[in-house]
Symmetry: C2
Subunit: 317 residues, 2 copies
C-alpha cells in the first residue's frame, strides 16, 4: 500500500484563517477556521495555527509539510512577507521561516492569489493548460499566472499583480497609492460606490431602501431584475473586460479563470466583461480565449498552498 | 578549426527589408537593404530576398538557416502571419514555410518586437537576466518577453503585445480598433498630434514654423531647449511610465529595455517615464527594476531573428 501523504494548508485572510488537512490529490480531508488576530503579531498567529494542528493530531498524526498563503506583497521564493492589507503593521517578516521553525516541517509561503491560481491549475479551471491566468475578485483584485506547469513569479516573486495594472490613467485613487488601477475600478468598494452613484441619480432600486449593502446584496438584487444593480455590475464588467484584454495581450493565455467573492455575481459581471474584452482585442484571432468561472470557490487558495507544500516535498526529496 | 556557422537575417519593415549575414555570435558580417514591395505579394518578396542572398554567395557560400521577422500578428511556432500593418492585404499566410521551401534552408519567423527582445537578450541590454522585457517604440509600440532564457510566446504566439494594453479606458482610438491603447498614446503619430495640440495653444516653438515634422525633429527641438517639444515628450513619457508599471505588475521583470526610433528621444521621454513608473507602482520594493535604453539600435530585430535561426539549427540537430 502506498502511504498517503498529508499536508497542512493555511490560508490567512483578513478576518479568519482557513486551515485544512489536505492529501496528495489536493483533497481537503478536514478543515476549520480560527480568527485572524493580526494585532497580536506573527508569533501569536503561529501559535494559533500550531494549536489547531495539535487538535487534529489524533486523526492525522503525520503531516509532512505546510503551505501558507496570505494576501499582499510576498516573495514566495524567499518566503518573505513585505506587507499585507490584512495584516496591518506587519512589514518585512520572514513569515515562512517563522512557521517552519515552530512547526518543524518544510513550509511554503505565497500570495493568496498565486495560490488560488495554483489550486485552479491543479484541480480546477486551469487543468491541462500550458498558460493559465486566474483572477481573484474581492475587496482586492489579485491574480496568478501558471506557465508550462509552473507558477510564474518573476524576478522578485511579485508577478501577476493584475489588480494594480492601470487601465484608466488619472482615474480613481487605489488603496496602493496609484490611480486608475483595475482594483480601484472593480474591487468590492468600487462596486458599492458605483451602485451608490447610480442610486443617487434617483433610480428606483431595492437597494435604495437600505443604509448599507454588500456586493452580494447587489448581486441578489440583480438576480431579481433590479435595474440599478444590473447596471452597476455591467459597468464593473466593462472595466474587468479591459483588464482581461490587457492580460490577453501580455500573456496570451490559453484560459482565464475568474474567482473570488465578487465573481459570485456571475454573468451579471462576466457577460459584460466578455463583451468588453472582445471590443478591446487587437485581432479576431485572440477572441477565442475562454474566460471561465473558477471552480474551487473559497478553498482555491488553501488547496493551492497545499499543492505548493506537496511540490516542495517532492522537489526536496 | 571550428567551422563558423552563418545564417541569413531578414527584417521586413514597412519601406525596407534589412538583410544580414550573421555569424553564430550574432555578429552581422555583411548587411544590406532592399525595398519592401508589399503590393507585389509574398512570392515576389521571397524572390527579392533570394536574389540578395545570391549576390552574397561569393563571399558567404554556406548559409545554414534563415531568420525572418516582420511587424504584426504572427505565430512564431506555426511560422504563420495573421496580418501586418506593413504588408497591406497580406492575411493568413504561411510565410515561414514559403521562405523555407524556396531557400531550401530551415527558416524561423517571428514578430519584429519579439526578435528585438531576443536580440537584446542575447547581445544587448537583457544579457544575463532571467526575466526581461523589451519595448520597441516607433510608429507602432511592440514588446517581447524573455523568461528563463526563452522567448515567451503564450498559447498562440501572440504574447508581449505591450502596445495594445489599454491604459486609458475610453481614450483615443488606436489603429487596432480599440481605444486608449499605449500605442494610441505614445506611438509616433500620437506624439506628433500631442505636439501639434501644444503648438495650437499658441506656445512659441521652432516646430511652429514648419508644416510637417517627425518625432526626430521634436527630439532635436527638445535638445535645443524648445519648451513645447520638451513638454510633448514629457507627457509621452508619463504615459509610457504607466505602461511600464503595468509590465512590472504583471511580469515583475529583472530589467526593462526601451528601444526603437522614438526611444532616440532619450531622457526627454525616459526621464519622465521613470518618474511616472515610480508613481504608479504598488510598492516601494518594485521601484528598483531598471528601465534602460536598448543597445542594438535598428539592428535589434535582425540580430534577434538570426539568433532564433541559430537556435533552430541547434535544436533540430
Amino acid at each position: 500500500m502506498v502511504k498517503m501523504i498529508k499536508v497542512l494548508g493555511v490560508d490567512i485572510g483578513g478576518t479568519d484563517i482557513k486551515l485544512g488537512i489536505v492529501n496528495q490529490k489536493g483533497e481537503v480531508l478536514h478543515s476549520g477556521t480560527i480568527p485572524t488576530r493580526a494585532a497580536q503579531g506573527p508569533e501569536a498567529m503561529v501559535n494559533d495555527v500550531l494549536q489547531w494542528r495539535e487538535g487534529q493530531r489524533g486523526d492525522h498524526p503525520e503531516i509532512t509539510a505546510a503551505g501558507i498563503d496570505c494576501a499582499g506583497l510576498l516573495d514566495g521564493k524567499r518566503r518573505w512577507l513585505y506587507s499585507s492589507p490584512n495584516l496591518s503593521g506587519w512589514e518585512n517578516i520572514p513569515l515562512g521561516e517563522m512557521f517552519e521553525s515552530r512547526l518543524g516541517l518544510p513550509v511554503t509561503l505565497d500570495n493568496d492569489a498565486n495560490c488560488a491560481a495554483w489550486g485552479e491549475y491543479n484541480r480546477g479551471a486551469g487543468r491541462g493548460t500550458k498558460c493559465f491566468v486566474c483572477l481573484t475578485l474581492g475587496t482586492g483584485v489579485g491574480g496568478g499566472v501558471v506557465i508550462e506547469g509552473r507558477l510564474y513569479r518573476g524576478s522578485q516573486g511579485l508577478a501577476g499583480e493584475v489588480g494594480h495594472q492601470v487601465i484608466l490613467a488619472g482615474g480613481p485613487r487605489c488603496g496602493c497609492g496609484s490611480r486608475g488601477c483595475l482594483e480601484a475600478l472593480i474591487g468590492a468598494d468600487a462596486i458599492i460606490k458605483r451602485t451608490r452613484d447610480i442610486l443617487a441619480e434617483g433610480k428606483a432600486s431595492v437597494l435604495g431602501e437600505r443604509d448599507d449593502f454588500t456586493v452580494r446584496d447587489i448581486a441578489s438584487a440583480a438576480r431579481e431584475g433590479d435595474g440599478a444593480a444590473v447596471r452597476s455590475l455591467g459597468e464593473t464588467g466593462e472595466f474587468l473586460g479591459i483588464g482581461l484584454a490587457n492580460i490577453v495581450h501580455l500573456f496570451n493565455p490559453e484560459v482565464i479563470a475568474v474567482g473570488g467573492g465578487v465573481a459570485g455575481a456571475g454573468d451579471f459581471i462576466l457577460g459584460p466583461a466578455r463583451e468588453s474584452l472582445r471590443k478591446h482585442l487587437m485581432g479576431e484571432v485572440l477572441s477565442g480565449i475562454p474566460v471561465v468561472p473558477a471552480q474551487l470557490g473559497n478553498r482555491a487558495s488553501l488547496v493551492g498552498a497545499s499543492f505548493l507544500a506537496l511540490e516542495k516535498i517532492k522537489t526536496e526529496g
